[in-house]
Symmetry: C3
Subunit: 352 residues, 3 copies
């Protein structure tokens, strides 16, 4: 019998099934540095232990999105090795902060299944939980993917589509830090705090970064994300796009790093409300980003830190002064590669 | 007098000569992370300190092949700066495990010399020992290289070819770990253990990874391997291949990382029995790999961990379902770039 | 009001103005490893804690030029985001050594202003100080940049050009280490010490390294240097060069790494006397380097370590056996990309 795990097909999943993902991962300062080299983030909390101290943390935490990619990476061999498409995310909630030295592992539960109308594929819904070595939750999120059936004649399961909230509720946002009087806007890059952002406000993050093949593959290997479409030009050259496709999460991290221009104090990501990879991205594409403030969120019982629900849109080969998004019929502009709905935490102004 | 060391030519070597190689190297978690980003290994023992604890180690050890490349890198300026070809390896044996913070250094002894028939070059045999800061042996291996003579009229030395074993004996395999009851196949990625592999069994590792210029050069700089053919397109463009040649050891690490598919519990490399770089590799090549189990090795006095002697073959731009290797006349297929004979350690099934 | 900081224009600067730069940066072993992977330095002091111990240091320090790039990176958003050209450096002096775990921040003082004759631009002189978390100076240097005016009708300020020394005086060189009897030339790569270098001596460093896009962009992101010309092919393709321009500091680090061949014991950089980026560099260029010894410097009261004032010249796509530099009229050869005047520290021979 073959020793190669062929990955799961639609009929291999059952509602309620628990999957323990392999290959736990100890995060190190080395991972943090390579992530820095790939994405170039400038948020001060992750950049400097002195700034971390100014919000009451003992040291600089690991970037939330690096945590996301590492947890996500664990799930690929079991959930999406054969996936045709990664359809969406919801209800992503970050928990305990992660520090270098922590070891992450992941488990998933199948929460829904629905065969598609052509009978050849199905949608699998999973809820994934990432935990640290103390079994504390560091991240949980829902995700759904389109997976082929191994045997098109296999009977369809009873359809079950889980109810997924459109956003993480304010009361469910985990807040691990609060600015002290040492929190210094001169060092974080801006004096704009929670109070200064208004729903509906749009921010063009201005800068653009061109992606190289070596970069996105190095990121995926760092995350131990083995999805084949990112790595193998020999196979992809004869497929639909003729090229390696960049991991969608790479765009999330790049857009987040670009969003520093105008969101300098949005120090951590607390929730992923939803996300769509609207067009594929390839090496050579230059990525720009813009954001819209969707909501200003008061955290119950917390007057030091507030939430901003944001839509950050990543766009390829087009500057974002005109905020490219959808046309009048709701169809995404072909230049838009990511529409990401998430919630960041940002200090509130102290009112004496 | 020039301050530039021109490297050694054939007549600079003498049998019995001891060479202390320069530039000791402290290995850090940063090196480990960059190695991870370059090769994408998923073997759980190096990935997670929790898994390391489940085999009795205090923390995740450094990948054996990163140790190999670091030790090898030290030797390049003295042994192979002028080499025409790296002809082979033998009797490679890993010793004390290496952890971040350890400092590696290397010394070599010339064990053989043989001028080639054309009188212009010669083969130099060296045995290299890598040690840590406590003078413990971490790796010893034999290697032979083809080196030009500085002066073709220089007299040939008495030929001496050392006897080299075809493989490292079971009793010489250094075993530093043993699975405890916490060793969990769900976390290591497979339930296949030593007992499940049979000599003659072949495994197609399925995945392929395309190599970029930035990646192999970054690896060599990390290893401080200064062999010029890897770095200088300005010179190589006018030479035989017209391109930079990828360090052969890069293929060893890539093949080892790919071999996770089907060899998930083969946690460490204990020996390098032999290896041939059968064709050059260039940026843009996509590397696949397959393995054959050559031997199942019982370690004397150890019923917890066994050895598997493997042949892992790396192949460029061709999938490995048909296990490409040699033709009927023993000539390597042009797609084969590495034929690597080594011994891994893997837990044995506990028989109650 | 826009939340995007547009960067400073000429009329935004005033003599005596103090600028606190944002985004302090904790340096880690991860940063050191990625820097190693990018530049491939072999100076033994930074490579091995054992060698660091042999000069009386507790552990391997961070490469001085990585410190330079990190301090420089902080200043870009305030000083040179809109700069047309980086005109020069002077009076750069390294202070306290930096170790992994230290947090760097930077402040600058405007020391001079001079509008240029066309009335559209001006030269801004700043003195930048980088400090660690204990407020110790790790680096101070002067730099001047050509910056456009926002409004060409804005009145010119009173011109003030600071007096800048042509080199850092011997008494101002900060020396943190001294060789002990454990300092071993076999491990540092050469027996050539301070006493062996003569003013006027030229050294061809021989090797050449081709630069890839992924490499220089990764370096800048690691340094959090956000100058736009390095990252955005979508915009640069329609500009003067048609390509991304490599950060001038990248060439400094690459030249320093290449200079190991022939300057093996020049363990640290103590001063940057001056530097000019004489031609732009692009991905695909192969960089060679050569050095001239300008001066052999006795450090007052120190007979263990001496200074060598060096000119290191980086050259693209041409080997340096003929030491390409300037023509008879003092114009730089088109292949020269960097003319760097700096002072290194190197052990002196012990005279019994």
């Amino acid at each position: 019998m073959s020793k190669i795990d062929p990955g799961n097909y639609f009929e291999d999943f059952s509602v309620g099934q628990e999957i323990v993902h392999a290959t736990p991962r100890t995060v190190t300062e080395g991972d943090v540095a390579l992530y820095q080299g790939l994405f170039g983030s400038r948020f001060a909390l992750q950049s400097a232990s002195t700034v971390a101290a100014s919000v009451g943390l003992e040291r600089a935490p690991v970037d939330d999105l690096l945590v996301f990619h590492l947890v996500f990476g664990r799930t690929v061999p079991d959930v999406s090795l054969n996936a045709i498409a990664n359809l969406g995310y919801a209800q992503g909630r970050f928990g305990a902060m992660v520090y270098p030295g922590d070891t992450l592992r992941a488990t998933s539960t199948v929460t829904g299944l629905r065969e598609t109308s052509n009978g050849k594929t199905g949608i699998v819904y999973v809820r994934t939980r990432g935990t640290n070595q103390r079994e504390e939750l560091v991240l949980a999120y829902d995700r759904w993917v389109l997976v082929p059936k191994r045997d098109v004649k296999a009977p369809a399961p009873d359809p079950l589509v889980p109810e997924l909230a459109s956003s993480v509720a304010a009361a469910d946002l985990h807040v691990s830090w609060a600015p002290t009087e040492d929190y210094d806007p001169a060092l974080t890059g801006s004096a704009h705090l929670w109070d200064d952002y208004d729903p509906g406000e749009r921010i063009d993050h201005v800068d653009g970064i061109t992606i190289e093949e070596a970069e996105h593959m190095t990121a995926c290997r760092l995350f131990q994300n083995t999805a084949r479409v990112h790595f193998n030009q020999h196979v992809e050259k004869d497929r639909r796009f003729g090229r390696r496709i960049i991991y969608g999460g790479y765009l999330i991290s790049l857009a987040r790093a670009l969003s520093f221009n105008g969101l300098e104090n949005a120090q951590t990501v607390a929730a992923i409300n939803g996300g769509r990879h609207t067009n594929p991205t390839f090496a050579g594409d230059t990525i720009y980003a813009w954001s819209e403030v969707l909501e200003r969120i008061r955290i119950p019982g917390n007057d030091r830190v507030g939430g901003l629900r944001l839509r950050t849109v990543a766009v390829k080969d087009r500057a974002c002064a005109a905020f490219p998004w959808k046309d009048d019929e709701g169809k995404y502009d072909a230049a838009v590669v990511l529409d990401f709905d998430y919630t960041v935490l940002i200090p509130r102004r102290v009112t004496p």
